[in-house]
């Protein structure tokens, strides 16, 4: 016997008995000299109606559950068109004992366990696509080291990969963006991909669109190669330095925080013993694009300790380099090992105050050791935060001649 029904039936009966009791009492009172007040009679009638409605509801509920048990309904994957490739145990109908049942419902209702070790997350919450790209912003939020030489973004000229700093004006490049889906369950069908051009620097507010498309990215089970999105782009006629910004969007994205990636690199030839200097603009997109900047400013007038100061921009330089290891072999413990600046380097001013819409010129100085051998390459990342939140960054690679 299903315990849920054991619960439902007596409860329904109790309601009906209560209604019947009310009727009997009303009847008894009706025999009295004055009879019951009109309002009591009306309320008794209401009780009867409610009791009957409740019983009907319970019956409908039981019928609906029974119908669900009998009828094979299409799986969610079928409805979505996504296919959890390779996960045979997730395909088709599940064994009966793993499907929905009233027993499980009752168990959930009656279980008094609190703060147990294991839990079940409702599937619509977890089994969603997760289009993603190497996202410096997401990684910085996790406290991890990043490079702005995005492994998922490449710019080619006649088949030779270029850095985005030294792009030639009015030249046609091939841009390739590698798109991935971190979900093992569903294909990310209809992912919107947008590639923008930002000015070289950090925290740029303005961007200009380069290309956009809608693309399907298969689930990561089994692991497969990233889906490339390639397009040709002719650089502006005005000479300048640029950053590529990739944005992904999907309506059912399980994790929308990993959808923005930048490729913001510069490769320079230097001499041993030289002092390399790079000046670049730093804006404050965090402060500019969030309402909280206004709130923070308002609250700062009241109390100094009321939240992160989003206008305080910090610039840090390091020499972290992302190991290029195939995803199937990569060890997360080894991917993000921080690395201090390989050569004496400093970035100024830091910290500094930059308001939304303002820009400051920052200066990166690197002293190339006199003993540096020709052919030596070192990478320097400048990472910026505003009030502790990721703002952007650049990666400079120096090659000793």
């Amino acid at each position: 016997m299903n315990p849920f029904r054991l619960l439902l039936v007596p409860l329904s009966a109790a309601w009906l008995m209560m209604a019947a009791l009310a009727i009997l009492l009303a009847g008894a009172l009706a025999g009295a000299a004055d009879g019951p007040p009109e309002v009591v009679r009306a309320l008794v009638a209401l009780a009867v109606v409610l009791g009957v409605l409740l019983l009907l509801l319970c019956l409908l509920l039981c019928l609906a559950r029974a119908w669900d048990r009998l009828k094979d309904r299409p799986r969610r994957e079928d409805l979505r068109g996504g296919d959890p490739a390779g996960s045979a145990d997730l395909r088709g109908r599940l064994p009966r004992d793993e499907r929905f049942s009233l027993d499980r419902l009752c168990e959930a209702l009656l279980t008094r366990k609190r703060y147990g070790r294991c839990g079940e997350v409702p599937v619509p919450v977890t089994r969603l696509p997760d289009p993603c790209i190497y996202s410096q912003f997401f990684l910085m939020d996790q406290g991890l080291s990043v490079t702005w030489d995005n492994p998922d973004v490449s710019v080619f000229l006649a088949g030779v990969e270029q850095d985005t700093y030294h792009l030639q004006p009015a030249t046609t490049y091939d841009v390739v963006v590698s798109l991935k889906n971190a979900s093992p369950y569903f294909d990310a069908l209809g992912t919107q991909v947008t590639v923008n051009l930002l000015t070289f620097g950090i925290g740029q507010v303005t961007s200009s669109p380069l290309s956009s498309t809608v693309i399907d990215i298969p689930a990561s089970t089994p692991p497969g190669p990233p889906v490339p999105f390639g397009f040709q782009w002719t650089s502006p006629a005005t000479p300048g330095h640029y950053c590529l910004q990739v944005l992904l969007a999907h309506a059912d994205d399980v994790n929308p925080a990993n959808n923005e990636g930048w490729n913001n690199t510069n490769v320079e030839a230097v001499q041993a013993g030289q002092k390399y200097v790079l000046e670049f603009p730093v804006g404050n997109a965090v402060a500019a694009r969030t309402q909280e900047a206004k709130r923070a400013a308002r609250l700062a007038a009241k109390a100094d300790d009321r939240g992160p100061d989003l206008q305080e921009v910090a610039l840090v330089v390091d020499s972290y380099e992302l190991p290029r290891i195939p995803a199937a072999e990569a060890d997360p413990d080894l991917l993000f090992i921080p690395a201090e600046a390989a050569w004496p380097a400093r970035v100024t001013p830091s910290p500094t105050r930059i308001g939304g819409g303002q820009t400051t010129e920052a200066r990166l100085e690197i002293e190339v050791p006199a003993a540096a051998a020709a052919g030596t390459r070192q990478r320097f990342n400048v990472n910026a935060t505003a009030g502790g939140r990721p703002l952007g960054g650049i990666t400079v690679t120096l090659e000793v001649q």
Binding site: L8, A28, R76, D89, L105, G116, V125, T221, N258, P332
Partner: protein, 298 residues
Amino acid sequence: MSKETCELPWYQSFSAGCALAGGVSIGAAAAAFGGGLSNPATWALLGSWGLAGAVIGYCSCRLAGRLRKVLVSPPFDAKSGQTTVCGELIAIGRSDPLKPFGDGDWLYNVATRDRTVLEVAFDGSTACVRTEAPPDFLHCEITSAIGTAGCIGQMVGAVVGAVAGSAAGVAVGVAIAAGCAAAGIFWLLCVIVAAIVALIVAAVITAVATEIGEYVGKAIGAAIDAAGDPTDIIPDVAEVGSCVCLTGDWVTDRDHGWNEIHDIRSAMILDSGGRICGGVIGAAATGLTVPERPGVPK
């Protein structure tokens, strides 16, 4: 960061005020039909409808909005009022649906990177630190229909119970009062006893019906939870120690005075493999690794 900047939890007090207002207004209105203070029927009506009014007042205020959506989320990027938080799952559970007013919500508490205290603002901007008990974590929930259905059931049960309770209370009170003529000099005392008995009988029946209504509502809520596509009920086993990214509505819980994610709209769950969650999550979420996941072959 100062805890003193937190706004005090107030919604329970607000709901209690609603209960008081509902009880007094509806109880007094019903008692007006009772024929005067010396009539036990007045007290029966007051006992039953006063209680029903209190329940209706309390529940309606609960339903009106214990959670306030916060559109801006300082610690994280927000999209459409939603926030993503990643970290180690340090507690999983479900609020007790059998407890009175228990809502049956599923809860997942997440310790963020370095297990540091989140600088989570109560009003969406300040740096009030949200702590429930050490260790510090962010409270995230998935709403169960049990809470809402239970609340509605309570209100329906209270009305039904008030009908039955007032009828029973009036009957008992009138019966006792009828015999008071024989009480002689204790007539007044007898009438008072009749009134008290009428009130108690009416209130008890109303209370019992309210509880029955609550649990009927909760049973229906449990069915609603599981209704829909049966395949939605496939469990993902998330264990304490798993690495998760939870995305959902960033709200203020005015009962407790903290911000939380409620509802969780999507979740990424990874086996930590004994590693620190930051690296596991970062690598998996940017496609640098293919992580272990519950029930999915690598």
